[in-house]
């Protein structure tokens, strides 16, 4: 079952903040976050393991609520380089398959 991300798209001005949510209908063992720029391959940002873990990457951080089967990605003081499509990737406890969410397109303008 594919995780659902919200919002589907975000438009920001440089310096603004954004939150991207990822919600799964299945119990999760871990959540990955990736960014894909136009015409390129997805690139890994971070992994969060169950247990309320929070991680950070530059001014991008994320949280994982295992009980709610949700993760959120926080982009602070966005830069032009943040533009792209963000995917969460989830792994359940019974499989090594990395299933990606529906994606959130983020555009940052000057």
């Amino acid at each position: 079952q594919q995780p659902v991300q919200s919002p589907q798209a975000v438009i920001l001005r440089e310096g603004e903040d954004a939150v991207i949510n990822c919600s799964s209908s299945k119990a999760l063992y871990s959540v990955h976050w990736y960014r894909q720029k136009h015409g390129e391959a997805p690139v890994f940002l971070m992994i969060l393991l169950k247990g309320g873990e929070q991680k950070g990457h530059e001014k991008i951080s994320a949280s994982f609520n295992e009980k709610k089967q949700q993760s959120s990605l926080y982009l602070t003081a966005s830069q032009l380089s943040y533009s792209g499509t963000y995917f969460c990737g989830t792994e359940g406890g019974d499989t090594d398959k990395l299933i990606f969410g529906t994606g959130t397109r983020l555009q940052v303008f000057p």
Binding site: S30, H32, A41, I47, T95, D96, G103
Partner: protein
Amino acid sequence: DTAVSQTPKYLVTQMGNDKSIKCEQNLGHDTMYWYKQDSKKFLKIMFSYNNKELIINETVPNRFSPKSPDKAHLNLHINSLELGDSAVYFCASSHLGQVHEAFFGQGTRLTVV
């Protein structure tokens, strides 16, 4: 040195043809994947494969078959290509287990005409 490489980068072919996409990784990973990214940008897993197990997404037509000659390669064979197969196909690899990041190849844009 490219970590995960796919060839070709672009592939244009006619309906009904059979084609292959090659993938190689030099990261020493033991798990490899194929993903299909359609025009809506959804990344759908097609296969995951490690030394011991091939896991097939049940929605993948049996015209698609992965072939792994060794741990470093996972090729994708597609028979009787259809218009709906047009998409970008990504190969990825990771260490076995659930806590390791996946590294992606640059993608193969397949266009069926």
